[in-house]
Each structure stands twice: as C-alpha cells, then as structure tokens.
C-alpha cells in the first residue's frame, strides 16, 4: 500500500539561497508525525514547497498516496489530497467562510461529501458564528487556527501538514488543537505537525518525531526525541550539521 506522503531528496532554493538540502520523509496512512526544528531550519519552506508555492526552485520527488505531485499546480495538489494549514492564514476580505467552502465543493466536483463534512466540522468545532464572516478577517490567533482546522475537516485530505499550528496560542488553546489533531487521525490520512516547541506534543501521541536542521531531517524516532530536545535544545544538531 502506498504511503500518505513520500518525500525523496527534496531540494528547494530561492535565488542563491538553498533552503531544503535533500529532505526524505515517509508518512504512512493512519500516522501522526511531528517535525521539530529551530527557526530557519526550513520547516515552513517544506510545507510551502509541498503545496507548490511558486517562489522556489525545486528538485526531488514527492507523492501523495502513490501519485507524483511534483508537476502539479497548487490547486491540483489540494485536490490530490494535500492540505496545508498555514502558520499565518491569509485574510480574504469580503469572502465568507461559507463562500469559500461552497467554492471548494464546486472546484472538486468528483467529491460529493462536502455538504456533510461542512455540517459535521462546523458542529464539532463550533464554527456556526464564523461561517458568515469574512475568511480570517478580524479574527484572533486562536480563531484563525480554528478556521484552519475547520477547513481541514471540510477538505478531508489524505495528508495534512500543519505549519506551526500551535504558534501564538495560549496553553488551553494548544491543548484544544492537540485534541483536534488526534480526532483527525484516520486510517485514510497521514498528519504532519510542524512545530518549534514540544508542548503541543504533550497533548498528542505522535507516531514519529523528526528533527529538521539546516534543510535536512537529521534524526527520526519516537517520543523520546521530544523529551531529549526539551532538555537539551537543538544545539547539538546544529553543531553536528554546521
């Protein structure tokens, strides 16, 4: 059976600046992985590059459920089953969340489950009062992240990459997001949580933790890695990879 996400020797640069220097990553269906790393290690770039943002020069390979996504546009990758939850979700003035989810359904005519997922995700996350408001406009940090989780529920992707979903949140909101992520775990889905801090991992049970430093994944393992990073920080890896 193919994996939810398969990444091989992924390189990305902007001009002369090499950001990703050969990333390998395998996320099987049903698993939740965490990628941890210091600022500037390339974590957010990895999620944008996988989504297909056009500002990078990219080489390497990535597939979702065995389908090569490298030649695909951003929207094709989304329809192939990739979802990126943004660290800084973009404001779309004048467009309500309901307008957006309606267009998501129209853009994906082969999927007839949108209506049901909109109702279910709205109920689960208490989104009713946000649905007629403009997307990410005048929302608090926590409300924006909740909106991203709602859209994830509506999209129902095969692989979800959550970029710093815990940044800017107070401890109760972090716990809530952790619970939401666990509730999204499914045999038909892989999840990647990108974070600097181990605190969100306390509210989840990641199957694997990857440490990213200097544009590469330098170590992978179980929950012991989070504990080790909590105690020692990233310095050891940064020195080793300098």
């Amino acid at each position: 059976m193919p994996n939810a996400l398969e990444v091989r020797d992924l390189h990305a640069s902007i001009g002369d600046l090499n950001i990703l220097k050969g990333v390998d990553l395998t996320v099987p269906f049903g698993e939740v992985h965490a990628i941890m790393g210091p600022n500037g290690s390339g974590k957010s770039t990895l999620s944008h590059v996988l989504m297909g943002k056009d500002e990078y020069e990219v080489t390497g390979f990535a597939s979702i459920d065995g389908v090569d996504i490298m030649g695909m546009t951003v929207d094709e990758r989304s329809r192939a089953g990739l979802f990126e939850a943004f660290q800084y979700p973009t404001q779309i003035p004048g467009v309500t969340l309901d307008d957006l989810t309606a267009e998501m359904a129209v853009s994906n005519p082969s999927d007839d489950g949108f209506e049901q997922r909109i109702a279910a995700a709205s109920e689960r996350l208490g989104m009713d009062r946000f649905r007629s408001r403009a997307v990410n406009v005048n929302l608090s940090g926590g409300e924006k992240k909740r909106t991203e989780m709602y859209l994830l529920g509506v999209a129902s992707p095969k692989i979800a990459i959550l970029d710093e979903i815990d940044s800017g949140l107070d401890i109760d909101a972090v716990r809530e997001i952790g619970d939401m992520i666990e509730s999204l775990r499914s045999p038909d889905r892989g999840i990647v949580v990108i974070t600097h801090y181990s605190r969100i991992l306390a509210y989840m049970s990641p199957d694997r933790i990857h440490v990213m430093v200097g544009g590469r994944i330098v170590k992978s393992g179980g929950s012991e890695i989070a504990e080790e990073l909590e105690a020692k920080g990233y310095t050891e890896y940064q020195v080793a990879n300098a």
């Binding site: 951003v74 929207d75 404001q91 004048g94 467009v95 267009e103 853009s107």
Partner: protein, 399 residues
C-alpha cells in the same frame, strides 16, 4: 403620460432668462482641455454636438430587471424630458434652484438645453424613488434630477442611467440635492449607459445643519463615464458617507472627480471607492478634501483602491487635501495593483482553480462597497453585473 411640451415653453421667468443667457454664452465656450487638471487623463477629442438636443423625448424603453425588482415609486426621464405625470421640473418652479454654476461648456449647455430637472420633494419623497433615466437615440441630451429634502425628513432616491439602443450619444446628466437641517438623504447612482455613450455628469449635494447623506455610485457602462461631484458641508455637524464601485472593460474610461467642501464646523466626510479595470479600460479618481478656514473640527477621510486586471488597463488615483483650518483630522489612502498573490495561493491551496480563486477575490474586493447599497435587490443586481463582467473577461481570456 401627458403630452410633453417643447423645450423651454413652460420655463418660469427666472429660468427663461437664465436659459437665454446660457444659449448666448455657449457660442463663446470651447471644449475643455485635458491640460486643465480637472479634465486631465481624458480623451476629449470628440464633438459633443450640443445643438442636437431634441425637442421631445423618444419612445420609452422596456422594463428590465432593475424595474422588475423595484417596489417603490418610479420617475421616468427620457432624453432629458420628465415623462412621469405629476412630477414637476425645476425649470417651471417659482423659486430659482441652481446648485451648479455655468462654469464650463457642459454645465452651460445643460442650462441652455435641459428641459428641466425632475424636482423631487414633499410628496415625491414619501416612499423610495427610482429615477429611470433613458437615452434613446444619438441626440445629445440633458437629463436632470433635483432632490429637495425638507428639514428633519428622510429621503431615498436611486438614479439609474441607461441606453435603450446601441447608438452612441453624448449625455450631460446633472443630479443635485439640497438636504435640509437634520434631514437624511440616501442617494444611489447607477451609470449603465451603453459603451458608445459619453456621459459628462455633474453632481452637487448641499448639506445643511446636522444633515447627512449616504451616497453610492456604481459605474458599469459608458465609453466615457464621468462624474464631477461636489458635496458642500454648509451646515455644522453635517456628514457624508460616499461609496463607489466601478468596473471598466473594453475602451471604457470611468472618471470620478470628487470634491468634499467642508465649510461648517464639526463636519465629516468618508469617501471609499473601489474599482477594477481590464482590457484597455482606464479609471480616474481624483478626490479633493477641501477644508475652509471656517471648517474647524472637520474629520475627512478618503480611500480609493484599484485592481488592474489586464496589462492594457490603467488606473489613476490621486488624493488631494487642501486644508485652511488648523483643528482637523484627515486621512487618505490609495492603491493601484493586480490581484493579491497571497490570496490566490491561499484559495488555490484550498482546492480552488486559479480562475475560481481570482473570481472569489474579485467578488470579495467589491463586496465591501456593494453591501453599502441600501436596497437589497439593487445591490444583488449590481453584484451580478460586476461579477458577470469579470467572469466574461475570464472566459474571453482578457484577464
């Protein structure tokens, strides 16, 4: 409908003498020049053919979506003639009404050749009024509307301009309003002439003590659609909210010259216009906030945002401030640029095709001003028209 009298035959004495003076002066007036700041950016190389003003209205156009969705009163003006029974004109009124001076070729021609602006006051304003202004031929015409809102009362007027044929014409519409002490006017103007017609429009709104106006303008049609608007904050405490939405395509020029003249104390103006241009269209917005020495405690703001959707399209956006008082608060903002890349990326990451992402972004861009249009049916019609133009431009590969 009554038999319509010929031009000038029912003029009151003051109007007859004003008209004949204007006819005399016209002989000496030339076309304005694009070297004058207020006409800058425009192509004025055309013959307005003023003597072609007709003596009688043409045949009325049919009903349409706007009229079908309308539940208030309707006043019809065809080729400059008020054809709705029981609606007087300012030309036959006992007292002189003149908010627009005869300061250039077009305003002077209006005085000389307009049969008379529809005079809306008292009884005509008890319910919402839609003024349906039609141009039916290539004749140059001078339709006018004057709204006199008595002190302490509310009025709501929509003026919709349309062509009933594909023939190009020159039209000089003039809409004026006098809003009395503590009175409120909601005025919406929809410019929907055909793409061969040049419209040299003029608007003046005078606000008296504690009067307010909510003004919306929607620019859809015309080869040249111009509106030179003055709002005069004469009375203390008067205020205006001014919104605009315009969408230009083809070789259209949509031209807005807005002047907020703050004279009384404690007055406030907020201008907020949003426009998009594609194909070879040009839009112009010059907004002037002028605060007289007497206009202390004025608060005045203007914002103009423009989307450039095709490489052949252009937008000029020029905010101006002229402040003679020393205790005021003013602000202005102006942007001209393409659709937002981050919004497109975000929407595409949710599975939207680039076309639907851009469509949604354009719809959202205009929503902020369309929602200010007070009548829901009219707002829905405007929304469909603007978004329809963008969808057509996508389908025809212009954006």
């Amino acid at each position: 409908m009554t038999e319509t009298p010929t031009l000038g035959s029912t003029d009151a004495a003051w109007m007859a003498s004003r008209r004949s003076a204007a006819v005399d002066r016209l002989a000496d007036l030339a076309m304005p020049s694009e070297r004058e700041e207020i006409w800058r950016y425009l192509d004025l190389d055309f013959d307005p053919d003023i003597p072609s003003a007709p003596n009688a209205p043409g045949g009325a156009g049919g009903r349409d979506t706007v009229l079908d969705g309308w539940h208030g009163d309707v006043v019809s003006i065809i080729d400059g003639f008020v054809v709705t029974e029981g609606v007087p004109t300012i030309a036959e009124a006992d007292d002189e009404v003149s908010l627009v001076g005869d300061d250039d070729l077009f305003s002077t021609a209006f005085t000389a050749y307009a049969p008379g602006a529809a005079l809306l006051t008292g009884d005509q304003l008890t319910s919402q009024v839609l003024v349906d202004v039609q141009s039916t031929s290539s004749a140059t015409t001078f339709p006018g509307v004057h709204i006199e809102v008595p002190g302490g009362s509310d009025a709501s007027v929509i003026v919709r301009f349309r062509s009933t044929t594909d023939v190009g014409a020159t039209v000089v519409p003039t809409v004026t309003a006098n809003v009395g002490d503590n009175a409120r006017l909601t005025l919406t103007m929809i410019q929907d002439w055909n793409y061969q017609t040049r419209s040299l429009g003029r608007g003046v709104i005078s606000l008296h003590r504690d009067a307010s106006v909510l003004f919306n303008e929607v620019g859809l049609g015309a080869k040249l659609g111009r509106l030179h608007l003055d709002i005069n904050f004469v009375g203390s405490g008067s205020n205006a909210k001014v919104y605009g939405a315009y969408f230009g395509e083809d070789n259209q020029t949509l031209d807005y010259r807005y002047f907020m003249n703050h004279i009384g104390v404690h007055t406030r103006s907020d201008m907020f216009l949003k426009g998009a241009v594609e194909d070879n269209a040009l839009s112009v917005f010059t907004g002037m906030i002028r605060i007289e020495e007497t206009g202390q405690k004025t608060e005045a703001f203007q914002t103009n945002r423009n989307l450039i959707l095709s490489s052949g399209a252009a937008a000029q956006s020029v905010p101006n401030l002229e402040i003679l008082a020393n205790d005021v608060m003013c602000g202005h903002g102006s942007t001209v640029g393409p659709l937002d890349k981050d919004q497109r990326y975000y929407l595409m990451s949710r599975g939207l095709t680039p076309e639907s992402a851009d469509r949604l972004q354009v719809r959202g861009f205009f929503e902020e001003v369309i929602t200010q249009i007070p009548d829901e049916a009219i707002a829905a019609w405007v929304r469909d028209r603007i978004n329809g133009k963008y969808v057509a431009a996508q389908q025809e590969g212009r954006v």
